[in-house]
């Protein structure tokens, strides 16, 4: 196993103060603290070459896990080994062998052109010049960086920046890549480009990837295996199909009616989850009623302007996982 995480625990202390003036004054004298468990016994392990989605709602402990694995946060308990090393104890040797991308922030130098940032990283990671050249040229081609190589990072669009950040995380050819929300805020084209690249990296170079995201499409496009975390514990670990099957088979049919009959849209095999003006959202189980049959029944009764079928969003799936 390349990555082993066992009973990982991390608690943050958060200072609290009572509301109002009285609380503010009292806070000067005596601070009250509240302990918040970000991780409460998380265990999983990854073999080399796996591509794993790590999902969960905000505050579930995803980023905390990634930070521990990246060696920049020390846990309170548990065992973590990456390539046989304890990340926070051997930080410098550890980070030399991993790549990290945090979607919410760039690791590039704000005022340097992209190409110079890559050059800097070559020196920082001590990549031999010839290996750097081939690596750089390949990354420029795969991520289509050529058009903005000479632009300072602050002038890049978010999609360009994310591609540049991906390139930057791979200059030293790491065998493990941590991606923390790499598609956040990206447009559809950039999302597809990022996904295609990550997939290729994993398939062709065998890079182990842990990916956190809120975008179920990322997971569906990329990950064989999905680990779901909630409230600091692992709720589910397996394939995506398993996860959906375990939690819910439900699909959503959203309809826009044209004849003002939105209030009367209903079906015996489906439940209405939302009515919003002209728009109605129906939940149904495809093993009880096929999407085609349901659509036919609804369109025969109402003048439908538009409709689409989708999986319930990840937050809903996980929320259901919680409720059990």
């Amino acid at each position: 196993m390349q990555i082993v995480v066992q009973d990982l625990a991390k608690t943050f202390r958060i200072a609290e103060r009572a509301p109002g003036m009285f609380g503010a004054v009292r806070g000067l004298v005596r601070r009250r603290h509240r302990d918040v468990a970000a991780l409460a016994g998380v265990s999983f392990s990854l073999a080399p070459g796996e591509l794993v989605g790590y999902i969960g709602p905000n505050g579930a402990g995803k980023s905390t896990t990634i930070k521990v694995l990246a060696g920049i946060l020390i846990p309170d308990g548990g065992r973590v080994e990456v390539d046989g090393r304890v990340p926070w104890r051997h930080r410098i040797e550890h980070v030399r062998r991993i790549g990290v991308v945090f979607g919410q922030r760039t690791q590039l130098w704000w005022d340097l052109p992209v190409i110079e940032s890559l050059e800097m990283l070559r020196h920082i990671y001590k990549v031999p010049p010839d290996r750097f050249r081939t690596q750089r040229d390949e990354l420029i081609e795969l991520l289509a960086l050529a058009d903005f190589l000479d632009k300072p990072v602050r002038q890049l669009s978010l999609g360009q920046r994310m591609r540049a950040d991906l390139a930057a995380s791979l200059v030293h050819a790491p065998s493990i890549l941590f991606l923390d929300e790499p598609t956040i805020g990206l447009d559809a084209v950039s999302k597809l480009a990022v996904r295609a690249f990550v997939k290729r990296l994993n398939r062709e170079r065998g890079v182990t990837v842990i990916l956190t995201t809120h975008d179920m499409d990322d997971i569906e496009a990329l990950c064989e295996r999905v680990i779901v975390i909630g409230d600091g514990t692992i709720l589910s670990d397996g394939t995506l199909a398993d996860l959906r099957k375990r939690v819910t088979r439900e699909r959503w049919l959203t309809i826009d009616v044209a004849d003002g009959s939105a209030d009367t849209v209903a079906d015996a095999d489906a439940s209405v989850i939302r009515r919003d003006g002209e728009r109605v959202c129906l939940a149904f189980d495809p093993e009880i009623v096929s999407p085609a049959a349901l659509i036919q029944r609804v369109t025969s009764r109402h003048a439908v302007r538009d409709l689409f079928v989708e999986n319930p969003p990840i937050e809903t799936v996980i929320a259901r996982l919680y409720q059990r």
Binding site: F12, I72, L73, I92, V100, Q107, W110, E116, I124, K126
Partner: protein, 270 residues
């Protein structure tokens, strides 16, 4: 090592872009140089006792101080301050670098590029143009070739002290919220004890040993006096020793404080 050098070089290049600021600095620093010289000339004209430093040397002292004014750590590093404010500083730890080394490297570039940009034109103004317009107000050439060589070495020493102090100031940002207090304190001390208000040799005798021993003297005062010959070139190694000793102390202090800050950071999160 190459990583840190690459950081210095990149930062240096970036800082060289600020030409307008350099030009503005050149004008204001020349103006204030002339004002300071005017005041000192008036004091010297009215003096009833012999001054501890001759007037031409005091004038040169003022010009050198103005030319290398940005050696004083007036502010903390904006980018580092931003990183600490937002908590992004933890992400610096995902690079195989020592965080103090990175901050020190950035400080080195910051304490040299802007100084070079202003210093060279200031020298031309103070050594070539000023004597044509107002003889007796000019920066005199270095006392000797040896004095010049030693001044170059002491200038490098001044950069080291200044970078170490800047890095230490950056580290204090991990504990202060707005981060204005420490730079203001340092700037005030540097102005008073660095010879920017009154040249240190003109202070009372009892104060001098203390002032000379402080790190602020190593940034502007001591190198300037090596240049003008007020400190003999043969005594300049003492200046270098003073600068290196303070650099070591400030680096040690900065590293120690940073390791405590980082421990808090990696325990408590970003």
């Amino acid at each position: 090592m190459m990583g840190y050098i690459a950081i210095i070089a990149a930062r240096f290049r970036a800082l060289l872009q600020y030409r307008a600021a350099a030009l503005g600095g050149l004008f204001t620093q020349t103006f204030f140089g002339l004002v300071r010289i005017m005041i000192l000339r008036a004091f010297y004209a009215a003096a009833t006792v012999a001054a501890p430093m001759s007037l031409p040397r005091v004038v040169s002292y003022v010009w050198l101080g103005q030319a290398t004014l940005l050696l004083i750590p007036w502010r903390t590093d904006e980018d580092v301050a931003e990183q600490i404010r937002t908590g992004n500083v933890v992400y610096e730890l995902t690079r195989p670098l020592d965080l103090y080394g990175v901050w020190f490297a950035r400080s080195l570039a910051w304490r040299t590029a802007p100084v070079f940009l202003r210093m060279l034109p200031m020298f031309v103004v103070a050594m070539v143009i000023v004597p044509l317009v107002a003889p007796g107000w000019e920066l005199a050439p270095p006392a000797s070739a040896a004095a010049f060589v030693m001044w170059v070495a002491c200038f490098a020493g001044a950069v080291l002290i200044s970078a170490a102090l800047t890095a230490l100031m950056n580290v204090t940002l991990m504990w202060t919220l707005t981060g204005d207090g420490v730079p203001m304190l340092v700037a005030t001390c540097a102005t008073m004890f660095g010879g920017l208000v009154i040249p240190l040799p003109l202070f009372p005798e009892w104060a001098k040993p203390v002032l000379y021993a402080l790190p602020f003297a190593g940034m502007l005062d001591l190198p300037s006096r090596v240049f003008s010959g007020d400190i003999a070139a043969t005594s300049a190694p003492w200046v270098l020793a003073h600068q290196l000793a303070w650099t070591l102390v400030l680096v040690a202090l900065g590293r120690w404080l940073l390791s405590r800050g980082v421990r808090r950071l990696v325990v408590q999160g970003g």
